[in-house]
Amino acid sequence: MPTFSTAEWNGMRLHVLPTRQFKTFSIAMYIGIPLKEETVTRAALIPHVLRRGNERYPETKQFRERLDDLYGAGFGFDIVKRGNYQIIILRMDVVNDAFVSGESESLLDAALQFLSDTVTRPVLEQGAFRASYVTSEKETLRKRIEAIVNNKIQYAAERCIAEMCRDEPYRLLALGRVDDLEDIDPAGLYAVYEDMLQCASIDLYIVGDTTPEAVQALLDGKFGLSGRASAVPYVPVREERRNVEEREVVERMDVKQGKLNLGLRANVTYADDDYPAALIYNGILGGFPHSKLFIHVRERASLAYYASSRFDGHKGLLMIQTGIEIANKEKAESIIRKQLEDIRNGVVSDDELSKTKAMIINSLRENDDSAFDQIGYHFNSVLSGKERSKQELIEAIQATGLGSVVDIARNVELDTVYFLRDKGGAS
């Protein structure tokens, strides 16, 4: 199995995975800064502005036509929060030249040039981002944030996290806050960007039929980020154990279906030795169709179409979600509580344990079949400072017994019960 080779290059970490598995080259750039109220909205706005054009292709239409000309190269961005960081991810993928006849330019070279121009040579006016781009992307970002409420599943999940983490930066949406937008001007935004390029942790990933040496040669003259002394490491922050007091939040809206979300603190994160046991705990509880939540809330009680849990290993949160008839809230909640209680008491069959392990191991192995998934897995170790190969994680999962899972369960604390319901009825 090929692995990433990592080198420090030009003040960033360069990771190259040579493989012939794909018909494409995949490129990803991770730019991470601490998640903070003062910068969250500006940082989220920046990739929106960058994708409008670069010095070589200053008009958005030209910029996108260039991508089309590179055989419809994919270019996209994401803004996410992981642990205590806000991370901008820029992604490109372009077909391997071998599949398109008569192509004279190297598509990998062209894609790297495009990404480099986009990051280091944005369209400027009087030393600031082009004003018209900033104005229109502020509007786009505002609409994106406001549109979250349209998808009630996502809305309920975000609201539950916000309530649960109301005293921590993690309450913030990765996209930032609508109220911050008005005060953003092109000069100030560009200053934040320049600062970000100096201080952020930056990782550049390339996956495809190439070699680290060939990539280094292609990168010559690209990504000129002056003044960066070193690749800035991420600082893993230990989550302090807090005094959790259970809280219930009910929100009313014009909805047919109620969304019941439970936010729990797992008190385990990615770097911990018992992380594999936490993955298994989540799998037994609600990660799969054989899991307790699916079986008891959906299959046995027929209360819901979806009932699942998700473990956020960088922040150590465990989130449960289900969509139910509004009148069934108490019933569903008590079934969910019973499942948490059962795992705490070790009421888990050998069968549940072994199926859960098999499913987690399968999803780790399937991760190898997508270039961007492999990049995402590797980035976990960069972010957490914990080197743990997929093979090591698989072996750790195989070696984990029920006792360790019960230990996790005893440390899991229910923090917030969030219920989104209709406007009628008794409160």
Binding site: R64, D69, P289, H290, E325, M359
Partner: protein, 426 residues
């Protein structure tokens, strides 16, 4: 097995039809850890009125294909998901207008998992109690979609476009229609549409085609199937006019949503002609409305569209439709603008430059899709049931001419066959 070589994409597809009529496809993907396998019946939500040769015509409740998909996972000895989980396979299923697919992906125990897939899909087991229980679960699925504005927008468009054709019916049916489903109706539909001659298996991943073929054959040989007569499917003749030109749905949304669509009453023969039409239609929409188009940029600059502005074209055997739109502050103004762009393109056509660029983009896009075993399996199956070979789409793009696309624009955009769907809070 027969080998179908597709040199332009460096793929080899293995194919055979078994004695009972089942079609088997295997695409080896060297270097891949996972295997993705699908077992699909050519039966979807639109097949609610049918007749098996030599039997009486049957009309069944809306949403039954989807209900059946849910119920197939229950066996006398328990839930099928458990069997897949025990072998580390991630299983699922989905129902669309014209097909129902059961699937798993796994990195180990491929032969055991494939056997489970073949067996559970071919073994119906329904009881009164389990059918009743499912009504609660699917009722929540229906409610979930009722709260989803994008879903309401899309189905609102189909409802506005089509007066008679069953694509206008919700795939999951309604709480009322599913209340009429019984074990007997489920058995009836299974018997009609899950005959091997109406189904196909597609396996893609790090597998040996010969071994897969032997396994599937042995499995099928051990099961008894009588020859089945032809299935007649009754889709009411769709008239030219739309149901309504403008349909408004009230639902809380941050910004209104708006889709426009054009329907075609289609009689394109399957095979090369259909593929050609599919390719020309996709390039047409791409040139007119993709993010690199002139219209997209000017609508975006006006603040009339957002990043979720999108487009699609769907070609079935007897109908086709397009859908174009997204969030907008002013649905009626957006519709006016889209109509005036369309009128201009109908009159003047698109440029050679834009055409060549779009072609390159579509070819690159297809190659990128071929990195994904799921995409390959699902796209190939979807195209197959609509009478097309997905791997021939790339040469179909290559052989298109500018004239083809300009002719397609003039055919497709007929204002008499256009509807607008809007979702808004007020």
């Amino acid at each position: 097995m027969k080998q179908l070589r597709y040199d332009h994409v460096q793929e080899t597809l293995y194919y055979e039809q078994l004695d009972n009529g089942l079609e088997l496809y295997v695409l080896p993907k060297p270097g891949f850890s996972k295997t993705y396998a699908t077992f699909t019946t050519h039966y979807g939500s639109i097949d609610n009125h049918f007749q098996i040769e030599g039997e009486e015509p049957v009309q069944v409740p809306d949403g039954i294909a989807h209900f059946l998909e849910h119920k197939m996972f229950e066996e006398p000895d328990g839930d099928v998901f458990e069997k897949f989980s025990a072998k580390g396979a991630s299983a699922n299923a989905f129902t669309s207008f014209d097909r129902t697919t059961y699937l798993f992906s796994a990195t180990d125990h491929i032969e055991d998992n494939l056997t489970t897939l073949l067996n559970f899909v071919q073994h119906p087991y329904f009881t009164e109690a389990s059918v009743d229980k499912e009504k609660g679960i699917i009722g929540q699925e229906i409610n979930m979609y009722q709260d989803n504005p994008d879903w309401r927008l899309y189905y609102g468009l189909l409802d506005a476009l089509f007066q008679k054709h069953p694509v206008r019916i919700d795939i999951a049916g309604t709480i009322e229609s599913i209340s009429r489903i019984t074990p007997e109706t489920l058995y009836k539909c299974h018997e009609a549409f899950y005959h091997p001659s109406n189904m196909m298996v597609f396996v893609v991943g790090g597998v040996d085609p010969q071994r897969i073929s032997e396994l599937v054959k042995a499995n099928q040989d051990a099961k008894v199937y009588n020859r089945q007569g032809e299935i007649r499917r009754f889709y009411e003749q769709e008239p030219e006019p739309v149901t309504e030109q403008r349909k408004v749905t009230k639902l809380p949304v941050a910004l209104p949503k708006c889709l426009i669509g054009f329907k075609e009453i289609d009689g394109t023969p399957p095979g090369a002609a259909a593929l050609h039409k599919e390719a020309a239609s996709r390039i047409m929409l791409d040139i007119l409305f993709s993010p690199s188009s002139e219209s997209y940029q000017s609508l975006y600059d006006e603040g009339l569209i957002t990043d979720n502005f999108g487009l699609e074209y769907n070609l079935y055997r007897d109908i086709a439709y397009s859908a174009i739109g997204g969030d907008t502050k002013d649905p009626d103004l957006l519709v006016e603008r889209l109509k005036s762009f369309i009128a201009r393109y109908v009159e003047h056509g698109v440029s050679e430059e834009a055409f060549q660029r779009s072609k390159r983009k579509k070819i690159g896009g297809l190659l990128r899709m071929m990195n994904s075993p799921e995409t390959i399996g699902n796209e190939y199956t979807k195209f197959k049931f609509r009478g097309m070979d997905w791997f021939e789409l790339l040469p179909a793009y290559e052989s298109l001419t500018l004239d083809d696309v300009n002719r397609r624009i003039r055919e497709h955009f007929d204002m008499k066959r256009m509807s607008v769907s809007i979702v808004t809070s007020s």
